[in-house]
């Protein structure tokens, strides 16, 4: 791992979906086994360039997520390396049994891309707003769950998974992410990135909440509270060592995620803490409610996915320390 932090956390010029497509095009050039599957969302995912370049290796099955997962499993049984995409809810809850049996139980080799995580589904509304996708996938043994925070991390993780074997769930923002890492950074799956050290409290964040956590840490610093900041981009297998070290060295933890706190990052961290080093924990995230329609900024406020809420939770957790 060699994560170089960006000097400024500003919106990236390249959308995440375009970085995804470019990365797969590069991989496909070198590896003839790379195949892409989609369920009628190739255009939404910005994958038309791949489709045009590699039509024989693109399987757009139409609106058949369950069939797609089975086909991906079958392709992998013949040595292909499938990347199968749909929106997060349809890539997980719609076809859980197919992922469970045809892919995971059968020990096959499939990368599942679930896009538009949580509130970023915005105008598609509650029906399309996955607060449960990582939780669903966490239930399946041996699945690796990744949530790349920006395009630099995305490219590195996609390239890594292409050379690995197993079932991967990659939770992917389609829009432009806020830059967290400099070009050339590399990451180790299963290892959290320490974005900032601190002694008073640790904020463990993933996805779009990483940027909020960075802002929160700055505000806290103005108040004299020095927070450690971890980007837990691998939800499973979770980095137990980093969590236990944070508990021992900072004595209080706040998690932050664009997902239901039940069976998401908050749950995963709570499990590690309670079994190893119980310290006060507060969880920023969706408090077990359904999503709703609206602009993303409204939704971030609505579900408390903000730097201000992280600051409040830090104050609360410090009182319990």
């Amino acid at each position: 791992m060699n994560a170089i932090l960006a000097a400024e956390n500003i919106k990236e010029e390249t959308a995440m979906r375009d970085a995804y497509c470019q990365t797969l095009m590069e991989l496909a050039k070198e590896n003839s086994n790379i195949v892409v599957l989609d369920a009628d969302l190739m255009s939404s995912m910005g994958m038309v360039p791949f489709w045009k370049a590699y039509p024989e290796r693109t399987f757009n099955v139409g609106i058949q997520e369950a069939n797609m997962m089975g086909i991906a499993a079958g392709l992998s049984a013949t040595g292909k390396v499938p990347f199968a995409h749909s929106f997060g809810p349809f890539a997980t809850r719609r076809c859980f049994d197919q992922i469970f049996m045809s892919c995971a139980y059968a020990k096959l080799n499939v990368r599942i891309i679930g896009s538009d995580p949580g509130v970023t589904a915005a105008y598609n509304g509650g029906t399309h707003m996955p607060f449960e996708d990582m939780g669903i996938m966490r239930n399946i043994p041996n699945v690796t769950i990744l949530e790349p925070v920006d395009s630099v991390m995305l490219k590195d993780l996609i390239k890594q998974t292409a050379g690995m074997y197993g079932i991967f769930y990659i939770r992917l923002l389609r829009k432009n992410a806020v830059k967290v890492y400099e070009e050339g950074s590399t990451f180790e799956i299963g290892k959290a990135v320490k974005l900032k050290d601190g002694k008073d409290v640790t904020i463990i964040a993933t996805g779009i909440l990483v940027d909020e956590a960075i802002k929160a840490a700055k505000k806290l610093e103005e108040q004299g509270i020095i927070a450690r900041l971890l980007n837990m981009f691998t939800l499973k297998p979770i980095d137990k060592e980093a969590i236990i070290a944070a508990a021992k060295e900072t004595g209080a933890i706040v998690t932050a995620e664009n997902h239901n706190i039940i069976n998401g990052l908050g749950s995963a961290v709570a499990e590690v803490l309670s079994e190893n080093c119980p310290v006060p924990l507060e969880r920023v995230g969706v408090q077990d409610v359904f999503g709703e329609v609206g602009p993303e900024n409204y939704l971030r406020e609505r579900f408390g996915l903000t730097a201000d809420n992280i600051v409040n939770k830090v104050h609360k957790v410090l009182q319990r320390k």
Binding site: G70, T78, K80, F100, M101
Partner: protein, 278 residues
């Protein structure tokens, strides 16, 4: 098909049935109905059609069999053991702790099982994936797929039917075991399937219906399907659930049933006589 070949395949089918019944006898229960109804198809596939190597079950250029109705596992295991994929004694371990022969087919446990199945409908999609992968690699091999008639209630079967035809997958040959019964009774009473062949035909498949207990009809249908280019094929098997086991054939509810040693012995004796006669 000449008389010798027909007799040989009928003997193989009868032996598969005997070994399957021995598995159920040892266990005392099992999915008798749906295992017995596909025995002739298994005999034709492994006896005369499929390109497989028992000493190298994952040989890249083999033909594949996806038994989407995974509960027919015991009949497939008997077939594979008789073909030499694993020792015959293993058949006596069906469903016992630590066995390599679980109720439903598992590609990671049993040599010769190509795909993990059990949750119905899913084998259709995985078979399509395998057929697409083989076609991409220009392998000259077929994927055979066995679907239950009751299984055709699953929407995933029809998702696959649509896409296999769209992909013009002529290296995929499916069978529907039309034994007319599902767990809760007759398919026509639970959720009427209508004409299964017609449904596949309307999805763009080459579809025929044959007597699923007649090895010659099955063989000829497969050979004809191999000549069909530009579309997948389905052979609807007119079968009897529990075929060849009178106690099971006569039982109204024979999807999963208790098998007494006496019932099993009676069937085995009868079938052994048949092998000799053949």
């Amino acid at each position: 098909m000449n008389e010798n070949m027909r007799k040989e395949l009928e003997r193989f089918a009868t032996r598969i049935r005997i070994e399957t019944m021995k598995e159920f006898k040892e266990l005392g229960f099992g999915h008798v109905g749906g295992a017995m109804s596909i025995v002739e198809t298994l005999a034709v596939l492994y006896g005369a059609v499929m390109k497989v190597d028992p000493s190298s079950p994952r040989w890249e250029d083999r033909d594949w069999l996806v038994v989407s109705k995974g509960h027919a596992g015991p009949a497939v295991y008997a077939t594979l053991a008789l073909k030499g994929f694993f020792p015959m004694e293993e058949l006596m371990t069906l469903n016992k702790p630590g066995t390599n022969l679980p109720s439903h087919c598992d590609r990671n446990k049993t040599p010769g099982i190509d795909m993990t199945t059990g949750s119905l409908g899913q084998g259709v999609s995985t078979a399509i994936g395998v057929a697409l992968g083989n076609r991409l690699d220009k392998r000259d091999s077929y994927v055979y797929l066995i679907i239950g008639d009751g299984e055709c209630d699953e929407g995933q079967v029809w998702e696959g039917a649509l896409y296999a035809a769209h992909q013009k997958l002529d290296n995929l040959i499916a069978f529907v075991d039309d034994n007319k019964k599902q767990l809760d009774g007759y398919t026509k009473d639970v959720n009427d399937l209508g004409d299964i062949a017609d449904k596949f035909r309307s999805f763009g498949w080459h579809a025929v219906r044959v007597d699923g207990a007649d090895v010659e009809q099955i063989y000829n249908a497969i050979m004809a399907a191999k000549e069909v280019k530009g579309k997948p094929s389905v052979i609807v098997l007119d079968t009897v659930k529990g075929k060849g086991c009178s106690f099971a054939e006569n039982a109204h509810s024979n999807h999963h049933m208790v098998v007494s040693p006496e019932q099993a012995d009676m069937v085995i004796e009868e079938l052994e006589r048949k092998v000799v006669e053949l």
